[in-house]
Each structure stands twice: as structure tokens, then as C-alpha cells.
């Protein structure tokens, strides 16, 4: 029996008067990858940003419904605490204007995770995080260089390392490979597969093949509605809804 990590119940999201998510209910299993597919403007990003309350910063955003993390209501949690448990990787790589080392060390320092630990501890965190993001070998000799000088694929993996450094429970990926070449994409996918042993992962992707490759469960969003959610193997072989079938076979308008 797999454990349920997050539970979304009747979630409705709005920007001002416009509803962008309608009555979404689903659950996310622990240590699995949930892929979310769907055409653009289906509300996938809004869904992810709601799960770690980044959308609380968006003007005009409001919502109804509940989201639970380990059975606790995330909307009554401390926002910062929630975000350190539910990390998020954006579509565009977003390194901070700091060195490679300081990018990874940034959050542990700010969140006071180093208190009472020996001085060397931060070096350890940085190294393991970069290793787990399969970036260590490429950057170990230039940790002091600015992260802004790295390639897009490296920056994206650096952002993964930055999240791993605070050891969250859930990681949200929002089209993490949309700007990357196939080789960088393969590396990021490999990293994700390795990470699901320790973390629960939600992957929004515009690449249907990617969802079928890495997802344990796949959900299909269309115009703010959850059309179908099922084990990836089932959804891609025998989708129950016509819209799902049209979308995954590329026959979608």
C-alpha cells in the first residue's frame, strides 16, 4: 500500500474573476513521480504554484478548496515552512547572482539549518547536493565562479541541487526541460528518477513522451479541468477519455 503524500480536495483557483482550475481532486503518492500533461493555459503552473503557495504572491489570485500535506492543511501552515518542505523548480533556470557554491549554500544558511553544526558541514551539504543533482563532477573545480556563467542545463541542475540542499519532502518541477537540449534533458530526467527514492515528485511537462518515460502516475489537465488520472502504463495504453486519447496521440487542436 503506497502512502499518500499530498491530497488535493475540490481545489478551485482564480485570477480575479477568471477561473483557471475547476474542482481538482487528486492525491499524490509518496516516492512516486506524478506527471501532469496538458496543453498550455490548462492551469498546470497555477496548480503547482498552489501546492507550495508561491501563487500567494500573484496579484488577483484566490482559491477555494483544500490541500493537505501529510494530512495537514497547507493553507493554515506557515508559508515559509511549507516551501522548505515542498520545493519548486521553475521552467526557466533561475540561478541566484552568486557563486555556484553560494547558490547551493544559500537556503541552508538562511533557514538556519547550520546552527550548532561544525563549520565544514556546509561544504558537505553543497557536495552531496551537487552530486545528487549529477553536477558535482562538472563544477567541483570552479565552485567560486558565478552561476550565471553556466550553461542552461547546468543551471537547471544547479537549481535542483539548491532545492536538495534543504532536503524537502516534495519537489515540484514545472516544465524543467522546456528550454534544454536532448542531452541535458536526459540528464535531468535521470536525476529525477534517482530522486524519487527519497522524494515525492510532481512533474509538469509539455512533452508527452517525457511523461510516459518517467511518470508513475499521469494526470491530464485540459482548460482548468482534470480530465483523467491513472497509472502511466494504463493511461498511455488505454485512456478512458476521448480528449486524453486525442492529446497523447498528438491529434489535439
Amino acid at each position: 500500500m503506497t502512502k499518500i503524500k499530498m491530497n488535493i480536495a475540490n481545489l478551485n483557483c482564480f485570477y480575479a474573476k477568471k477561473q483557471v482550475l475547476e474542482n481538482i481532486s487528486l492525491h499524490i503518492n509518496a516516492n512516486q513521480i506524478l506527471s501532469i500533461i496538458g496543453p498550455s493555459n490548462s492551469g498546470k503552473t497555477t496548480f503547482l504554484r498552489t501546492l507550495n503557495r508561491m501563487s500567494d504572491f500573484d496579484a488577483d489570485y484566490w482559491r477555494k478548496g483544500k490541500v493537505f500535506l501529510d494530512e495537514k492543511d497547507i493553507f493554515s501552515m506557515n508559508m515559509e515552512k511549507l516551501r522548505s518542505r515542498v520545493g519548486m523548480l521553475f521552467a526557466m533556470p533561475m540561478p541566484l547572482p552568486l557563486s555556484i557554491f553560494e547558490n547551493v549554500a544559500y537556503a541552508p544558511r538562511r533557514l538556519n539549518l547550520l546552527k550548532g553544526k561544525p563549520k565544514k558541514y556546509i561544504d558537505e551539504i553543497v557536495e552531496t547536493s551537487l552530486r545528487d543533482a549529477s553536477l558535482w563532477d562538472e563544477v567541483k573545480d570552479r565552485l567560486d565562479e558565478s552561476a550565471m556563467k553556466m550553461s542552461g542545463g547546468q543551471q537547471q541542475r544547479l537549481c535542483i541541487a539548491r532545492i536538495l540542499a534543504i532536503d524537502p519532502e516534495v519537489i515540484l518541477f514545472d516544465e524543467p526541460c522546456s528550454g534544454l537540449d536532448p542531452i541535458s534533458t536526459a540528464k535531468v530526467e535521470e536525476t529525477m528518477m534517482a530522486l524519487k527514492k527519497r522524494y515525492t515528485i510532481v512533474l509538469v511537462t509539455n512533452n508527452v513522451k517525457q511523461a510516459s518515460r518517467v511518470g508513475d502516475v499521469t494526470a491530464f489537465f485540459l482548460m482548468g479541468k482534470l480530465i483523467e488520472i491513472d497509472d502511466t502504463a494504463k493511461l498511455f495504453v488505454a485512456p478512458k477519455q476521448k480528449e486524453t486519447n486525442d492529446y497523447i496521440t498528438g491529434r489535439f487542436g
Partner: protein, 284 residues
């Protein structure tokens, strides 16, 4: 009428623009030339670092230089922290509603108030109501109010030039808003903020009207001991020696103007150089 050939009209436009540029450059260079030519003979170690003598017709302008530096540094020490905090509030925290729009409009308008009005305001509030008397602190606070709009406006634009992705990246890691501002936004906005501060100093250092009723003395035999003392100040001193004192040697008047000019221009120069250096070092 025959149409001009493109080549000819291009030439005409370029020469017109060149002429316009020369016309704007002439008065500036003329001012600098005249002041330097007439004033350079007065400049000496003694002129810069000694007290005036013989009813200010001889000796130096040391107390006026000290006074100006004292007033201006006290004013920036007050205005910079307040202005930066206000800019942070407006740019990072305030929601875009009617109240914040009114505040922003008010700040822009504050910059358009004539400086003599600031002077009268300072006289009423700091000199009389708060009882500071005519003093460095009253003058500095008056100038600080004058600097605020410039500092707030430049600091706000420096803050909003920091890409939003930096804030999102930091916030998404569970770092609080204030820590994000403190560790990511502010360091990256600092060059712009400091440039604005230096430019605002350059702007107020040469002002006479705001300190006329609040800080400046005609003549003081001693240097100030505390911020509650009156001081001589360069712009006001220049005004006095060029209008109130008969038989004033011309080179002292122009020498004083030269010192003031160099002080103000070097401030602007520092700001420009700082901006170039920071822009080169910028990491995004």
C-alpha cells in the same frame, strides 16, 4: 519645391544636431572657463585651510567648507536610511492600490517644490517649533527632506531593476520575504541606490535657499562644536561675499565658486564612475 536627396537630408540632420550639441556645451564650458580663469589665482593651501580675515576680504574659506560638509553629511545620513526604507516598502511590500499611487505621486511632486519653500518649512519646523535654532541639524534635516524624493525615486528604480526571478528563486526555497530583500534584492540594488544618493548630495550641496534660514551664519569666528551650532556654508558665503561686502577681491569670489563647483562636480563624477564600475561587475 524639390525634395532633398536622402544623402543631403542626412547630412543636414547631422549638422543640425551637432550645432545643437555645441550650443548646449558652450554655456557650460564658458562657466567653467570663467570661474577657473578668475578664481585659480586665489586657490592655495592657506585659502582652503584657514579662517577668513579682514572682514572676509582675505584669508581662507575653511569654516565654509567644513560647514557645507557637516550639513551635507548629516543630511545624507538621515535621508538615505529613511529613503531606502520607504523605497523598499513601496517597491517590495505595498500593494498597488489608490493609497500607494497617491504616495508615489506625492513623492514625484515633492521634487518639484521650489527650494526656498523647503527653507521656510525648515525654519518653521526645525528652527522654531522643535527649537533646534539656526543650526547644522536644522539645515541638515531641511536638506534631507529635499533629498528624499530623489533618493526614494532612484532607490525604487534600482530595486525594481533587480529581476523578479531572483526573488521567486529565493522565496520558493522557503526563505522569508525580508531575508530575500536583505540578502538578494538589496545587495543587487545597492549600486543604483548609492549612485542616487551621491547625485542627491551633489544636488543639495550647492543649494542656498534651504540653509539660508536654517543653518547658515554670516560669519563665525570658530568652527562648530556640535550639530546645534550655526555654521558658515559655501553657497551662502559665496552669496554674501559677492553681494554684501564692498571692495571684495574678485579672485576670492571666483576662487570660492571654484571650490564649490569642484565639490559638486566631483560628486557627480564619483557617481558616474561608480555606475560604470558596478555595471561591469554586474553578474546578470
Amino acid at each position: 519645391m524639390k525634395k532633398l536627396s536622402p544623402k543631403l537630408s542626412q547630412k543636414l540632420a547631422v549638422s543640425l544636431l551637432t550645432v545643437a550639441m555645441i550650443i548646449t556645451l558652450i554655456p557650460v564650458s564658458a562657466i567653467i572657463f570663467i570661474i577657473v580663469k578668475n578664481g585659480i589665482s586665489a586657490i592655495s593651501w592657506e585659502f582652503l585651510f584657514s579662517m577668513p580675515t579682514q572682514g572676509m576680504r582675505a584669508g581662507g574659506i575653511f569654516p565654509a567648507i567644513v560647514g557645507t560638509i557637516a550639513i551635507v553629511s548629516c543630511s545624507i545620513a538621515t535621508a538615505l536610511p529613511i529613503g531606502v526604507c520607504a523605497a523598499i516598502y513601496l517597491n517590495e511590500y505595498a500593494r498597488d492600490n489608490l493609497l500607494t499611487r497617491i504616495i508615489k505621486l506625492a513623492i514625484v511632486n515633492l521634487a518639484g517644490i521650489p527650494s526656498v519653500v523647503y527653507g521656510l518649512f525648515g525654519l518653521g519646523i526645525f528652527v522654531m517649533f522643535l527649537g533646534f535654532g539656526v543650526s547644522i541639524i536644522a539645515g541638515a534635516l531641511t536638506l534631507a527632506i529635499m533629498e528624499l524624493p530623489v533618493i526614494i525615486t532612484t532607490a525604487r528604480s534600482a530595486l525594481s531593476n533587480v529581476p523578479n526571478s531572483f526573488r521567486e528563486a529565493s522565496l520558493a526555497l522557503g526563505v522569508s520575504r525580508w531575508q530575500t530583500i536583505r540578502h538578494i534584492v538589496l545587495p543587487n540594488a545597492l549600486p543604483g541606490i548609492l549612485t542616487g544618493a551621491i547625485l542627491s548630495i551633489a544636488r543639495v550641496a550647492g543649494e542656498t535657499a534651504p540653509i539660508l534660514f536654517t543653518a547658515a551664519a554670516f560669519y563665525t569666528p570658530n568652527l562648530p562644536h556640535s550639530v546645534f551650532d550655526q555654521v558658515m556654508a559655501l553657497p551662502y558665503h559665496l552669496f554674501i561675499i559677492s553681494t554684501q561686502i564692498p571692495n571684495m577681491p574678485k579672485n576670492i569670489i571666483f576662487g570660492t565658486a571654484l571650490v564649490l563647483l569642484v565639490m559638486v562636480l566631483s560628486m557627480s563624477l564619483i557617481a558616474i564612475i561608480a555606475r560604470i564600475i558596478f555595471r561591469k561587475r554586474r553578474k546578470w
